[in-house]
């Protein structure tokens, strides 16, 4: 490439920089903006209460209500019930969990065939885990197969689960992840979400979404400005603007 060409390229690049030049915001200016932000303590308390309630920290939610006067958005007693269901699934007591859900509100499972199937599937998994092969087969045929006939996706899930029975050593089974504890947690969080929804409550706490929104907003602003970032969300440390 000739020197002249390089020179031209350089010029073009410079031009491009000019066209997309970003607004520079110094740390001092940015801190001024940060200080001018109006935030209500009440709202932050509500955010924290929402986290405690949604995640099911009932004792903490009670204490927080007392210490800060923040009203929980749902009756705290329902958290205890919800957590009991969740815990039952986590411990593998699926039958118990189903009963508890129905005590809480029979509509939850009636209106949610997928959730009901997943709970039954989890129950099957637990039977297989305990080596109760006969019982597992019987349960699969009587309770799960009819549901599989109604729904192709359920049938596939069921076939996958029954495959666990075929392998003597479950660790060599291609669907061994069904036996993982994480699968219990997945089912538990599904039932947890369904109960919250039935209580007209969002299934996820607001706080994690806000943190994601912060990352998103910083990314968006990156395209237009250079300003101090927060990279480590756990400390909120403000980094100096680079570039």
């Amino acid at each position: 490439m000739s020197l002249f060409r390089i020179f031209i390229n350089q010029l073009e690049e410079d031009d491009e920089d000019m066209a997309t030049s970003k607004k520079m915001i110094t740390r001092e200016e940015w801190e001024k903006k940060l200080n001018a932000v109006k935030l209500r303590k009440e709202d932050m308390n509500t955010l924290v209460m929402n986290f405690l309630v949604t995640e099911g920290y009932v004792e903490a939610a009670e204490k927080f209500q007392r210490e800060s006067g923040t009203k929980p958005e749902i009756d705290l007693a329902t958290i205890t019930d919800r957590m009991a269901v969740k815990k039952a699934v986590q411990n593998g007591n699926v039958e118990d969990a189903i009963e508890k859900v129905n005590d809480l509100n029979p509509e939850i499972l009636d209106t949610n065939p997928e959730l009901f199937f997943h709970l039954q599937q989890q129950r099957l998994i637990e039977l297989i885990r305990q080596g109760k092969t006969e019982e597992a087969l019987e349960f699969a045929q009587e309770e799960l197969a009819p549901r599989g006939e109604e729904n192709q996706a359920f049938l596939e899930e069921l076939e996958k689960t029954v495959a666990l029975l075929v392998f003597d050593d479950a660790s060599t089974c291609p669907v061994k992840e069904l036996l993982d504890l994480s699968h219990r947690l997945k089912t538990a969080s599904e039932v947890n979400a369904a109960i919250l929804t039935s209580q007209s409550h969002e299934k996820d706490p607001k706080l994690p979404s806000l943190l994601k929104m912060l990352i998103w907003a910083q990314n968006q602003l990156d395209e237009k400005a250079v300003y101090p970032h927060i990279i480590d969300l756990s400390t909120g440390k403000l980094e100096d603007p680079s570039e």
């Binding site: 903006k33 932000v37 932050m44 308390n45 920290y57 209580q199 756990s234 403000l238």
Partner: protein, 447 residues
């Protein structure tokens, strides 16, 4: 932290909700502009919501065109309005669109530079040129047509009879006026600026557009125990010791231990935790004398100067507590003794006057200074004392905010900056609005 910050903090957190919310409110178009009539070829109805062509339609410069009385508000997600074609007249040359303040001639929106219009006769969109582009269906008598601006995607969108028919890049800057035009005999159109129900589900459109953005945001991943750590730090920062303890018990067994750096951070925030908790409890119970005594005992430096801000706020609160229980005489006495000395000090003047105003009302809780009597006020005073105690921490960085607050400030500032770099268009982040949206049960009083 600079001490006057306490007052500053106190001040704006003590004010009732509405004041803050109003800042975001902009005026919206309500009727057709009859004052600076663009053309002499229309007659506008007395309610200023419909127009009828009165010209003879011989050329392109005798269009009956009218703007709304105000530009479309832009500090929001989107704006939308509708027209109903009552009569498409002889030729059906109705159009709907947006124009700027400088649009001053009897032409269809879309024909002139910096205007945009969707025309009924040919279904084309005109973007500042005499030639239109294929866009949507034609529309005529009995049709309801809508025009909107999506400030996030920077697009115009149009609807016919409740269905979205197309979007086009919003290439025009500055305030935009909803505009409607008629251009043949008997053509008559009515305008709906939201005073009637829209044919198009604008709210649904807005929330589905919002969801698109939300889905992009939810894809971002963050460490799973991040929220928990921030909540714990928040509880420690504000001295909610019992809550923190309960949360610790509930989570420590299930989560991996936090790394060293974070642990240090938490220890730091634990400074005088128990002291701060006790003081918060006292203030929340309205036991201000006890709180003052405790401060004199444990943090004399904060109350040494009896004109200090902490003293001022606590004395004010004591006064408020006396009003609350109806001990007005005692309140007056207390005011003379403890609050009179603050008169004339500019930093305190406003709060002091508002405080004294409580005495004027027979039912102070219903007055415009009634917020002093709400429970949140005690919380605000407790927070101020909490911050003051934290400021006595001998060494190490003095964190004036909880990490959570720092992040929320950064988020708000980023969103505001984004908007200002986008010609002031789009909505700002509001924690309060976010907390009240979606399918939450509204426990807030709806009175």
């Amino acid at each position: 932290m600079n001490k006057s910050n306490f007052i500053h903090k106190f001040h704006h957190s003590a004010k009732p909700h509405t004041m803050e919310d109003n800042e975001e409110e902009e005026e919206s178009p309500t009727e057709l502009n009859t004052i600076t009539g663009l053309s002499g070829f229309v007659v506008i109805s007395p309610d200023k919501l419909s127009l009828k062509y009165t010209g003879v339609s011989q050329h392109g410069h005798d269009v009956g065109v009218v703007q709304a009385n105000k530009p479309a508000p832009c500090k929001r997600f989107a704006y939308y309005f509708e027209i109903y074609v009552k009569d498409a007249g002889v030729k059906g040359r109705v159009s709907i669109g947006f124009t700027t303040d400088s649009f001053r001639i009897a032409r269809h929106p879309g024909w002139e530079l910096n205007t945009c219009g969707y025309h009924g006769e040919d279904g084309l969109i005109y973007l500042g040129k005499r030639q239109g582009e294929a866009f949507g269906p034609t529309y005529t008598t009995g049709d309801t047509v809508g025009g909107g601006i999506n400030y996030v995607s920077q697009e115009f969108f149009f609807t016919v009879n409740g269905t979205l028919v197309g979007t086009v890049s919003k290439y025009i800057k500055g305030p935009l006026f909803p505009t409607v035009a008629v251009h043949s005999q008997n053509e008559e159109v009515t305008v709906n600026f939201g005073q009637e129900k829209f044919a198009f589900d604008f709210k649904g459109y807005e929330s589905s557009e919002r969801n698109k953005q939300q889905i992009a945001i939810e894809k971002i991943s963050i460490p799973s125990n991040m929220s928990l750590g921030l909540v714990k730090n928040y509880l420690l920062h504000y001295g909610y010791e019992d809550t923190h303890h309960a949360l610790d018990l509930a989570t420590n067994s299930t989560l991996p231990p936090i790394n060293g750096a974070q642990e240090n951070g938490i220890d730091d925030t634990s400074y005088a935790l128990h002291e701060r908790k006790i003081l918060r409890q006292l203030i929340r119970k309205g036991e201000i004398d006890a709180a003052l005594a405790k401060l004199r005992d444990s943090y004399p430096q904060l109350v040494q100067n009896d004109k200090s801000e902490v003293c001022f706020l606590l004395h004010c609160q004591k006064f408020i507590e006396l009003v609350r229980i109806g001990a007005l005489e005692e309140a007056v006495k207390y005011g003379r003794m403890e609050l009179a000395k603050f008169i004339g000090l500019t930093t305190f003047q406003d709060i002091l006057e508002d405080c004294f105003a409580l005495l004027v009302y027979e039912r102070p809780e219903e007055s415009n200074v009634g917020y002093f009597l709400e429970e949140t006020q005690r919380e605000v005073v407790a927070d101020t004392v909490n911050a003051a105690i934290l400021s006595t921490k001998p060494k190490g960085k003095n964190q004036s905010h909880s990490h959570l607050e720092t992040l929320l400030r950064q988020l708000t500032a980023c969103c505001l900056e984004l908007r200002s770099l986008n010609d002031g268009q789009g909505e700002a982040f509001s924690l309060n609005r976010l907390l009240r949206t979606n399918n939450w049960k509204r426990t807030k009083k709806t009175t």
